[in-house]
């Protein structure tokens, strides 16, 4: 025993040590050590975020320098606090408090003392800075907007939050990321790729040289320049026209699907979300739950499409052989559903397709709609055939455009009504409202614009998109460059387009003609309801308009949706007409029309439901 005592102890100690070491070095070892290692600090080199240009190369978004006053508390020497505070234009108490917070955070590491000085303050401060030890100015890059328009479509950038950090390991705390719009959609292209330098630190957090002589370091990759399909002039002009109005406008180039303008009203100056006042402005915009300036109506609003939808019903009826262009239907200043008469504003009389479209006859389209169903044994079957035709125009589902938000709209089908009423417990009279674009159908303005583009192209469309070129190289994304065909044959489009053209020459929009340009369009006046104190109340109709021009070689297709603008040709029609002229001619000849649109606002209309008093809707005088 006494002879082996020491040997046993030596062996037990050896085993214990190796056990403990294998626990430490094999089981607890984390392979991700470069980033977790307290002795290594990653220093990032951020590339400049890419600029954004419009389709003609006009600058929309660039960068601007901002200057943060930084402090390293440990290095601060006694100073003339009063003078320094004056230079920084902050109160002394605030200064003392900020300095205290910085010291609590870390005496050795820099903290921001005053963020984002203006250029003027910076110029004033710069030369005196060396007097104040422990303080220095750090330059950083902010977005600079060369326009006051397009806030929602361009989007903004902001600091990454917890969710972003979890979702994408690229980011570290404090970095910026695109939050909405183009900035979000093309974040990775605009952002580039930050470079990283691993620095070896000692226990006082001082640099003592590169880690592994820099073999793991990377160079930053520049952010790319983005050319978007927007037309700066059209976008700005459209937003100007939208002053005092709520709604969404989408203009497309039918031959490519490029989004020429994506306008939402009310909007805001994108510069509001940059700089020192950012968070104040953001709260103001975000909490405006009545006019909702950050809610992009052009892609998120889902009104009933109203009368423009009649053009599609006409096309489906022709395709299905339910009617011919010459087929006539009598309008009794309305049409009967069972024993009830539903109204029509066309004046009544015998209607063929051409008159039906340009006078927007409800009775004609109710009859047409019935004829589509009558072709089939059951309404169920008819419903699904109709629904499939409609969906081929990009309605009833997400369009697939390159923006981070959207809505699917709605094209009802058999399943939808079965869910609502029960199987076999609904018939064509339940769904007759769809014939005139009321009822269950719903579409976003961009879907309406796309539908119009499909008509303009006589049967196909290109998925709307916002990206045109990256670093000057045009995109070739099949999703955007291959046409999508509707289920309607080309030959059926001509009679419908003729009807839409007659809307301008002799129909509901004859006051809105543009000399020298042949336009095809369709007005829409959409009934809508809200709840006031839980009572369903009708509000003034939405004003809606779709159009494309020129008819023979369409350059622009658009949809204008103005909340509570009353009938289609009033607000939406005016704005559509002005935008087409602006885009095709570059200037406005009808200045009286333009002046009227710039001056008129709908604020009084929007105030009505909140007034708490009785109010009239659809007032004729404006």
């Amino acid at each position: 025993m006494k002879k082996i005592l020491l040997s046993s102890i030596i062996i037990i100690i050896g085993i214990t040590f190796i056990g403990r070491l294998s626990y430490l070095q094999i089981f607890s070892f984390s392979p991700n050590q470069v980033l977790e290692d307290t002795a290594i600090k990653a220093i990032y080199d951020y590339p400049e975020r890419g600029y954004i240009y419009d389709r003609k190369g006009r600058l929309l978004v660039a960068n601007q320098p901002a200057y943060d006053v930084m402090v390293i508390p440990r290095e601060v020497k006694p100073l003339d606090t009063l003078e320094f505070c004056q230079l920084l234009s902050i109160e002394k108490e605030k200064f003392v408090e900020k300095l205290r917070k910085a010291r609590v955070y870390s005496p050795r590491l820099p903290s921001v003392l005053v963020p984002q000085l203006s250029k003027e303050d910076y110029a004033r401060l710069q030369e005196k800075m060396r007097k104040y030890e422990g303080f220095y100015i750090q330059k950083r890059s902010l977005r600079y907007y060369n326009t006051t328009s397009g806030a929602n479509v361009l989007g903004y950038i902001s600091e990454v939050n917890e969710t972003d950090l979890l979702k994408n390991p690229y980011y570290v705390q404090g970095e910026l990321t695109g939050r909405t719009g183009i900035e979000k959609e093309y974040e990775e292209i605009l952002r580039g790729r930050k470079g990283v330098k691993f620095i070896q630190k000692d226990r006082f957090n001082r640099d003592i040289g590169p880690y592994k002589n820099g073999i793991l370091d990377t160079l930053p990759e520049q952010g790319k320049e983005l050319y978007v399909t927007l037309d700066k002039a059209l976008q700005e002009y459209g937003e100007k026209l939208m002053t005092g109005k709520r709604g969404g406008i989408v203009a497309l180039e039918p031959s490519t699907g490029e989004i020429l303008a994506l306008i939402s009203g009310p909007t805001y100056d994108p510069s509001l979300l940059v700089g020192r006042e950012r968070s104040k402005n953001y709260s103001k915009l975000h909490y405006d739950t009545i006019s909702k300036p950050t809610w992009d109506r052009a892609i998120l609003a889902e009104p009933s499409p109203g009368s423009p939808f009649k053009t599609l019903n006409a096309l489906v009826a022709l395709q299905e052989g339910a009617i011919k262009p010459e087929t006539t239907i009598r309008c009794y200043n309305g049409f009967y559903v069972g024993n009830t008469l539903r109204g029509c504003h066309c004046g009544g009389g015998i209607r063929n397709m051409n008159i039906g479209i340009y006078k927007s006859c409800n009775a004609y389209f109710a009859g047409t709609f019935r004829k589509i169903y009558d072709k089939y044994e059951t309404t169920d079957e008819g419903m699904d055939v109709w629904s499939a035709h409609m969906k081929s125009f990009g309605l009833g589902n997400f369009l697939g455009y390159d923006l981070p938000t959207g809505r699917p709209g709605r094209i009802p089908d058999k399943a939808y009504y079965d869910r609502f009423y029960g199987d076999n417990r609904w018939s064509s009279s339940y769904i007759i409202s769809n014939s005139i674009g009321q009822g269950e159908v719903a579409a976003t303005p961009i879907q309406l614009a796309n539908m119009t583009a499909a008509i303009a192209n006589r049967g196909h469309y290109f998925t709307p998109h916002i990206l045109k070129k990256i670093d000057g190289i045009p995109i070739s994304i099949p999703e955007f460059t291959k046409p999508k065909h509707t289920t309607i044959d080309k030959k059926h489009f001509d009679p419908v387009i003729r009807g839409m053209s007659d809307v301008y020459t002799k129909g509901t929009a004859k006051w809105l003609q543009i000399p020298g340009i042949e336009i095809a369009g369709k007005t829409g006046t959409v009934e809508n309801y809200t709840r006031i104190d839980s009572v369903k109340t009708q509000l003034t109709d939405h004003s809606l308009f779709v159009a494309f021009a020129p008819v023979d070689n369409p350059k622009i297709a658009l949809a204008v949706f103005i909340e509570h603008g009353y009938y289609g040709s009033r607000y939406a029609g005016h704005i559509a007409s002005l935008l087409i002229e602006k885009y095709l001619k570059g200037h406005i000849t009808r200045t009286d029309l333009e002046k009227r649109m710039l001056d008129k606002t709908l604020e009084h209309e929007y105030a009505k439901p909140y007034s708490g008093e009785e109010f009239k809707i659809n007032e004729y005088v404006w």
Binding site: L6, G14, L21, D37, Q200, K201
Partner: protein, 427 residues
């Protein structure tokens, strides 16, 4: 006897292990104290350069040690012991204070730490006393003398203060066990330690319950013919409980907060994450950083001069007491295992050398050498890898320091000299 024959008979395996440890140690000192500004290994202004000089001096010392007559050590053991006691006493007057401990004589280029040499002389003196024909270790009076030889230098070192070095002397008790001190002394010491630790971890009540359960199990499994020693059993139980109660009192009243913190860190008593964080930044900083450095080395290590925590000087005293953490970070599990195995082989080899001695003095001194090396190795690495509380003593042959290296070298080679001479005893 010629020096040449000594070199023939010396145990070359031990010499090889010694040089491996010294070289590996120096490589890690180089890494821990390396600075890009002075890359030359022969820069004597740098610590690794100085250590190279110490290695040179140690090699000279090896030749001197081996050249001396083997019976010189036995003959002069008492004299050397007394000289070293005087040198320890002299520290109270002439000592130089470094890092709060008055443990050094200042010789200009080099500070001498007499306690390193006292370890050798005490081992010699103890061996000499025990090997005396008159001495009978079974007799309490002789046991007391033997303990005194060990305790006198220890008590001279404690007030320096250098409790770590003082602790080393107690390891010489293993020599006594080898020579016939009853093993139940060790059993009692072990039981006391066990009670101490379990009381701190679980409290007296659980210790009492545990003891009762142990007795119950013992009564259940005993053979029916076995007569239960009721009285001794009750006595052990009562003494254990009293001891356990006193542990609490000593821990709370006698220990200072820093001692309590060391124990609570060691036994993982603190569960509150905030307090744990504070302990990590204060009392537990060294242990935490060295554990982290070793852990970050992983299986293969980060490579020579690539240890980021070593470069960043995150582990205090890394070139001295915490040198093993450099091994861990730069050479990984492979490196640490190799070092542990080298020490294990060296110590086992020394045990087998000691056991083959025909001369009692040589064997006892051999055991003294083993005990001293073992306790250094055990406490140092145990502390660095976080299985023992912080006790500052160096890792033999590894840690930076001239006196230490020289002391351990002389200690080892005196024994190798005695071993090489073992056949001459018969001539």
């Amino acid at each position: 006897m010629s020096g040449r024959s000594v070199l023939k008979r010396v145990d070359w395996l031990t010499v090889l292990l010694y040089f491996l440890l010294v070289i590996i140690g120096w490589v890690n000192i180089y890494s821990s104290t390396f600075s890009e500004d002075f890359p030359s290994i022969l820069n004597f202004g740098q610590l690794y350069g100085k250590q190279l000089v110490f290695i040179g001096i140690s090699i000279v010392a090896i030749f001197i040690t081996l050249a001396l007559e083997a019976n010189f050590y036995e003959r002069f053991a008492s004299v050397l012991y007394i000289i070293s006691l005087v040198s320890l006493l002299g520290l109270f007057i002439f000592g130089k204070t470094i890092a709060g401990a008055t443990s050094w004589y200042d010789f200009g280029f080099f500070n001498l730490q007499p306690s390193e040499f006292a370890k050798i002389t005490t081992a010699l003196a103890l061996a000499k006393y025990l090997s005396d024909i008159q001495t009978d270790i079974k007799r309490p009076r002789h046991q007391m003398y033997a303990f005194l030889i060990i305790l006198i230098p220890a008590f001279l070192i404690i007030p320096q203060p250098d409790p770590g070095s003082a602790l080393v002397f107690f390891s010489l008790i293993f020599v006594l066990f080898r020579e016939g001190l009853p093993l139940y002394y060790l059993g009692i010491a072990f039981l006391a330690l066990l009670l101490f630790v379990t009381t701190l971890m679980f409290g007296t009540i659980w210790v009492a319950i545990g003891l009762v359960l142990l007795i119950a199990v013992f009564l259940l499994v005993k053979r029916s013919s076995f007569k239960v020693p009721v009285l001794p059993m009750v006595a052990v139980f009562v003494v254990s409980i009293l001891f356990s109660l006193s542990v609490n009192i000593v821990f709370e009243k006698v220990f200072e907060q820093r001692h309590r913190d060391r124990f609570s860190l060691w036994l993982r008593l603190e569960k509150d994450p905030n307090k744990l964080e504070t302990i990590r930044k204060t009392i537990g900083y060294n242990t935490y950083q060295s554990e982290k450095a070793i852990e970050s080395g992983g299986f293969f290590g980060k490579g020579f001069l690539e240890g980021t925590r070593t470069k960043g000087d995150f582990v205090p005293e890394q070139h001295t007491d915490y040198i093993f953490s450099t091994v861990g970070e730069e050479w990984g599990f492979i490196g640490t295992t190799v070092v542990v195995l080298l020490f294990t082989f060296l110590l086992l080899r020394l045990v087998s050398l000691a056991e083959r001695q025909k001369n009692d003095f040589s064997r006892m001194f051999g055991y003294g050498v083993i005990s001293i090396l073992l306790i250094h190795y055990f406490i140092n690495i145990g502390m660095v890898i976080g299985v023992l509380p912080t006790i500052g003593i160096p890792l033999p042959f590894f840690s930076y320091g001239g006196s230490g290296l020289l002391g351990f070298t002389i200690l080892l080679f005196i024994f190798l000299k005695l071993d090489s001479n073992r056949l001459n005893e018969w001539i």
